[in-house]
C-alpha cells in the first residue's frame, strides 16, 4: 500500500518523464536491500537446517535402536525370571534402566532439535513472504516505469501533431475510411464469388438439359426458317 501511495503522489506531482524517479530512490533501495537480506538469511537458514535435520534423523535412529534394546533386554529379563535366576534378572533390569535413561536424554535432545527445525522453517517462510511482498512492491514501480517508457514516445507525437486540431477525430475518420474500403472489398469479393458460383450453376443446368436452349445448331436454325416460309 505504501508504495502505491508514493506512486500516486509522484505521478500526480508530474513525475511522468522517463528516467524520473517514480518513488523515492531510497525506498526502492530499502526494498531491494530487504529482499537481498531475506535471501541471504534464507540461504544461511537452509544450510544450518540441513545440519540440524541430519542430527535429528541420527538421534531418532539412535532412540529407535535403544528402544529396541530395551524390548530385547525386557524379554531376556523375563526369561531369566522364568528360569528362577533373579540375580541375572536384576542385572538385566539395571542395564534396562541405564538404556532407558540414555533414551530419555536423547529424546529430550531430539525434541529440542525438532523445535529448532520448526522454528527455522517458520523463519524461512516469513523471509519468503518478505521477498514476495517486496517483489510485488518493486513490480508496481517497474510497471509504472515501463508505462512511462511506453507513453513517452507518443507524448512526443502528440506534441508534434497537437498543432492540428481534431487529431483524434481525423485519425478516427481515416480508420473508418479504411474499414469501409475493407468492407467494400469484402463485398466485392462476395459478389465475385456469387457470380462465379452462378456461372457454375448455369453450366450444371445446361449439362442437365434444363433451362437454356441446348439445340442451337444449324438444324434448329433450318427448322425455324422452314416454319417461317410455311413449309
Amino acid at each position: 500500500m505504501g508504495i502505491l501511495k508514493n506512486i500516486l503522489t509522484a505521478v500526480r506531482g508530474g513525475a511522468s518523464e522517463v528516467g524520473e524517479s517514480i518513488v523515492d530512490a531510497n525506498a526502492v533501495r530499502i526494498l531491494g536491500q530487504e529482499i537481498r537480506d531475506a535471501q541471504d538469511a534464507i540461504g544461511k537458514a537452509k544450510q544450518s537446517l540441513t545440519g540440524l535435520k541430519a542430527s535429528e534423523i541420527k538421534l531418532k535412529r539412535e532412540i529407535n535402536s535403544l528402544e529396541s534394546d530395551v524390548a530385547s533386554y525386557e524379554s531376556k529379563a523375563v526369561q531369566a525370571l522364568d528360569a528362577g535366576n533373579e540375580a541375572l534378572a536384576i542385572e538385566v533390569a539395571e542395564r534396562i534402566a541405564e538404556i532407558e535413561n540414555e533414551a530419555g536424554e536423547k529424546s529430550a535432545e531430539h525434541s529440542a532439535l525438532s523445535a529448532q527445525v520448526n522454528k527455522i522453517n517458520s523463519m524461512i517462510r516469513q523471509r519468503e513472504k518478505v521477498i514476495q511482498k517486496n517483489g510485488r512492491e518493486l513490480e508496481k514501480i517497474k510497471t509504472v516505469e515501463q508505462l512511462q517508457k511506453a507513453t513517452s514516445s507518443m507524448s512526443t507525437n502528440f506534441a508534434a501533431t497537437n498543432a492540428s486540431e481534431h487529431r483524434v477525430s481525423k485519425a478516427l475518420e481515416r480508420v473508418k475510411k479504411k474499414q469501409a474500403n475493407w468492407e467494400d472489398r469484402m463485398e466485392a469479393g462476395e459478389w465475385m464469388e456469387g457470380e462465379a458460383s452462378g456461372d457454375d450453376l448455369d453450366r450444371k443446368l445446361k449439362d442437365a438439359g434444363i433451362g437454356a436452349n441446348t439445340s442451337s445448331g444449324a438444324s434448329s436454325v433450318l427448322e425455324r426458317l422452314k416454319k417461317k416460309s410455311g413449309q
Binding site: G14, T143, V168, A171, L172
Partner: protein, 133 residues
C-alpha cells in the same frame, strides 16, 4: 519470449480475421505494433519481470474540451468495465488503453489481445469523441 522474438513472430502472422501486424522494437526497448485493423493508434508493448503490458496511447488531456474533463473521466470509468480485455488509465497527461498479460502467455493469446485492443481503441474513441477538441 523476448520482445524481439515477439516482433519477429507478429510480423510473420496473419490472424483469422485477416489482421496483420507491423512490429518494430525501438531503441528504447518498447515494441511498437501497428495492427492493420487500426493503423492510426499503435500499441506499445513493454515487459516487466512478471508481465507484458500492451499500451495504446489515446489522447492528451490537452486534447479534451477544457470544461469536459470531469465528464470524460466519468464516462471512461463507466465504460471501462464493458471493454473486453482492456482497461483505461492515465499516464502523466496521456490517457491510455492497456492490457496486461503474464509473461508465459501463449503467442495466439497475445495476438488476440492486440487485435481486440486495436478494435477497443476505435470503440472507446468513438464514444468520447464529442468531448475532445
Amino acid at each position: 519470449m523476448s520482445l524481439n522474438e515477439l516482433a519477429f513472430k507478429l510480423n510473420a502472422h496473419l490472424t483469422a480475421e485477416d489482421t496483420r501486424f507491423d512490429a518494430v522494437l525501438a531503441e528504447s526497448g518498447v515494441l511498437e505494433v501497428i495492427c492493420s485493423n487500426n493503423e492510426e493508434f499503435p500499441i506499445n508493448i513493454v515487459k516487466t519481470d512478471t508481465q507484458l503490458l500492451a499500451i495504446t496511447p489515446l489522447f492528451d488531456v490537452n486534447e479534451v474540451k477544457p470544461d469536459k474533463v470531469n465528464e470524460l473521466n466519468e464516462e471512461l470509468l463507466f465504460i471501462s468495465p464493458a471493454i473486453p480485455l482492456s482497461a483505461i488509465g492515465r499516464q502523466g497527461n496521456s490517457y491510455i488503453l492497456f492490457g496486461a498479460m503474464a509473461l508465459d502467455t501463449l503467442f495466439e493469446n497475445i495476438v488476440h489481445e492486440l487485435e481486440v485492443q486495436a478494435e477497443n481503441t476505435v470503440d472507446v474513441l468513438q464514444v468520447i469523441e464529442p468531448l475532445l477538441l
